[in-house]
């Protein structure tokens, strides 16, 4: 029976979904600020990787406890969302538990949902404990300023509240059915234990049930619209980000073809480099070497920053960070997102984080409105050993190292701003063909006076 409540619901749901689509378009626009890069090769390998790493959470299981707790929340999210489909149909058409016709299947789904919802509550409570009471080291750091901290807590608390709303709805439904002696579709192992928790006044039970139902669905719509402003956006971005992640060995860094053309022209005067691409007004596009700002990074590197969950696994294994250097791979990724949203579009709830405003003194950023120096300092970049520990540790295949390297390239190729000792190393390679100041004519001296036992 379609009544006023259903029309209101339809409007609210349409509004929520519309707002979400509007935000997604903004984020898409931001990501496309990045340079183009071709990453569509080997679809079958990419699908496999997505199934293993994103759907299968493969890399989470390097750390057992958070992996299991996260699995509860992840599976809970996936399965309980099937119920959201029912909620949407019920809401629009004024039906009640429309999928109930599925009989035993429906009972199974409802039972699993209740168990998962309880596990989600337990997991989120433990996560809150780890974050705020035992203060796990990797959940702290200079980049974990007011907004990221609050964001994490908001998500955990909202998830608990949503699950509680689900139970309230189920309990009141069960009790009402019991009072009326009616049959109710589904099985409710946890709610049936708590069936008397809400009293037995039919009118108020009905109200409580409706409030629980509305709260759950409004909560989900609000949560969906909160995602684009939050680290929790990873629940969507993890999948494309893993799909488009690097398939070649981690040690293979990108090669800039524009530089190859220049060198070939230098070595061979008859070589004709291809004409530079032209912009809309017919002027040649001058490409920067390396990255100074977000538009110099690729769309994949920008997508990385929207995928980051700020879990800190990368920073916790970074040899530079472990030994007290300023570099934190997580900060590189978070800074990229902040700068991108400062420069491009920003989602509904936008929190720029400026280190100076947050009173963080160690990161000596300047007033420059660029990713380099305005957010990420050369000192951080020069602390990197390119060891790939951060890349290896990331559960959603973010490539922190590629961004670090592109920023380094800008410092060296466009500003000649390498540390003096590295400039000396460059000079040695240019002059002697070795990073040290040895004469190339001595290169074969190691072979002098070398003996082996003779076989006879």
């Amino acid at each position: 029976m379609i009544g006023i409540e259903n029309i209101v619901f339809l409007l609210v749901a349409a509004l929520g979904i519309g707002l979400f689509v509007w935000q997604i378009r903004k984020i898409r626009k931001n990501v496309l600020l990045g340079r183009d890069v071709e990453l569509a090769d080997n679809p079958s390998e990419r699908i496999n990787k997505t199934l293993l790493v994103a759907f299968g959470q493969q890399k989470m299981f390097k750390r057992m406890l958070p992996a299991v707790l996260h699995l509860f929340v992840y599976v809970g999210f996936l399965v309980i969302n099937i119920e959201v489909i029912e909620i949407l149909i019920d809401g629009i058409f004024g039906t009640h538990r429309i999928l109930g016709f599925a009989g035993i299947l429906y009972s199974g789904l409802m039972a699993v949902n209740e168990v998962l919802a309880a596990l989600v509550i337990v997991a989120c409570a433990i996560f809150l404990w780890r974050r705020n009471v035992t203060e796990l080291p990797r959940l702290k750091g200079v980049e974990m300023r007011a907004w990221p901290k609050m964001d994490a807590n908001i998500i955990l608390i909202v998830e608990i509240v949503l699950m509680v709303a689900l139970f309230v709805f189920n309990i009141s439904d069960l009790k009402l059915a019991q009072l009326r002696g009616a049959h109710i579709a589904g099985a409710y192992p946890i709610s049936s234990l708590l069936v008397d928790a809400l009293g037995s006044d039919e009118a108020s039970l009905h109200v409580i049930g409706r409030v629980g139902w509305w709260f759950h669905i409004l909560g989900i719509l609000a949560f969906m619209n909160y995602l684009p402003s939050s680290k929790h956006f990873h629940i969507i971005m993890a999948f494309p980000n893993v799909y488009y992640s690097k398939l070649v060995p981690k040690g293979k860094f990108t090669t800039n073809p524009a530089i190859t053309q220049e060198i070939k022209a230098m070595l061979d005067p008859s070589f004709q480099p291809p004409a530079p691409e032209l912009d809309a007004e017919g002027n040649p596009i001058i490409q920067r070497f390396g990255a100074k700002d977000v538009e110099d990074l690729t769309w994949k590197q920008l997508m990385d920053s929207y995928t980051c969950t700020e879990c800190g696994r990368c920073t916790s294994v970074c040899p530079a960070n472990l030994t007290g250097k300023l570099l934190s791979p997580r900060k590189i990724v978070m800074d990229t997102r902040d700068r991108m949203e400062e420069k491009g579009e920003h989602p509904a709830i936008y929190h720029p984080n400026h280190y100076k405003e947050m009173g963080v003194e160690r990161v000596d950023v300047t007033e420059e409105k660029t990713l380099l120096r305005g957010y990420i300092t050369p000192e951080e970049l020069w602390a990197c050993t390119s060891c790939n520990a951060c890349v290896e540790s990331c559960p959603v295949n973010i490539d922190q190292l590629s961004t670090i390297m592109d920023l380094r390239r800008y410092l060296v190729l466009e500003e000649s701003a390498a540390p003096a000792s590295l400039n000396a190393m460059f000079t040695n390679i240019e002059n002697n063909g070795a990073p040290w100041a040895f004469s190339p004519s001595d290169r074969f001296n190691w072979a002098d006076e070398l003996y082996v036992p003779s076989k006879n």
Partner: protein, 273 residues
């Protein structure tokens, strides 16, 4: 003993080409292998093994030049490509097919980054090459120093391990020694960098609480235990420098030695100095 050993004349590609010959493998020595006093001993040990098993090999000698790895990791893509393109010209001129190197940085660059610039070779790190020799029975790992029961811990090189997923080859080489192989807590994919990668080898560390090689050496020493002497095995010239410095810093030179896996095999095979 003099009469029992022979002087090795290391063949160069230029000589081979002059004789109209082609070697089975090119041994890419690398700058550390050619100039660093400590790592020259590794180069010599590896050549002793090559001579011992009778592989047809050659080196570039003075025609070799830096692969460009340190320049690339430091952000100097221009200098890297200059080096790479000139090296590829030399390698292609000699029609090189297969390269073996003892340096994971050279290995990674030659194998992964040269193809984009026109250099396509089969590139093998010496850990994989030694593993093959042992598996084929060409190296018996006998007749020399006995390592049975000796505590050895292997330090993973980032450019061999995470960068190229080679974790088992060096371990299998060490397993042939029948030594007491102990693993550090952070090993294989979770291995901790020695601190030299990304061109850190050529600069002072950024300000911090501790040097990375000290952190790693402490872990290695703790793994080897205080009971007696032990060996930190490496498969990379930069790791070798960093771990040696770490052991010196901890004043443990008397108890703990740092060796490349090729040196350990040469010693076990009785290939001497």
């Amino acid at each position: 003993m003099e009469e029992n050993k022979r002087l090795v004349k290391v063949p160069t590609m230029a000589q081979m080409a002059a004789n109209g010959e082609e070697p089975e493998i090119l041994f890419w020595v690398g700058c550390a292998g050619a100039f660093d006093d400590r790592y020259k001993r590794v180069t010599r040990a590896f050549v002793q093994i090559l001579e011992h098993v009778g592989v047809k090999y050659a080196v570039l000698g003075t025609e070799e030049s830096c692969t460009g790895d340190p320049a690339k990791r430091a952000g100097n893509e221009f200098l890297f490509q200059m080096q790479a393109i000139t090296n590829i010209e030399v390698l292609n001129a000699y029609n090189v097919k297969k390269i073996v190197t003892a340096c994971p940085h050279c290995f990674n660059t030659l194998k992964n980054e040269y193809p984009d610039l026109g250099g396509n070779y089969e590139v093998i790190h010496h850990s994989t090459f030694l593993q093959q020799l042992i598996n084929e029975g060409k190296v018996a790992v006998a007749g020399g120093e006995a390592f049975k029961g000796k505590r050895i811990t292997f330090h993973d090189s980032c450019y061999l391990g995470r960068a190229n997923n080679i974790y088992e080859a060096p371990r299998e080489v060490l397993a042939a020694l029948d030594a007491d192989l102990v693993e550090m807590k952070r090993s294989r994919a979770n291995g901790l960098c020695c601190g030299a990668g990304g061109a850190q080898m050529f600069k002072e560390p950024e300000p911090g609480a501790k040097d990375i090689n000290i952190e790693r050496t402490e872990e290695a020493l703790a793994t080897l235990g205080t009971a007696g002497k032990g060996v930190i095995a490496t498969a990379c010239p930069f790791c070798m420098v960093m771990m040696n410095d770490g052991v010196k810093n901890k004043e443990q030179e008397e108890n703990v030695q740092v060796f490349d896996i090729a040196e350990l095999i040469a010693q076990a095979e009785g290939l001497g100095k």
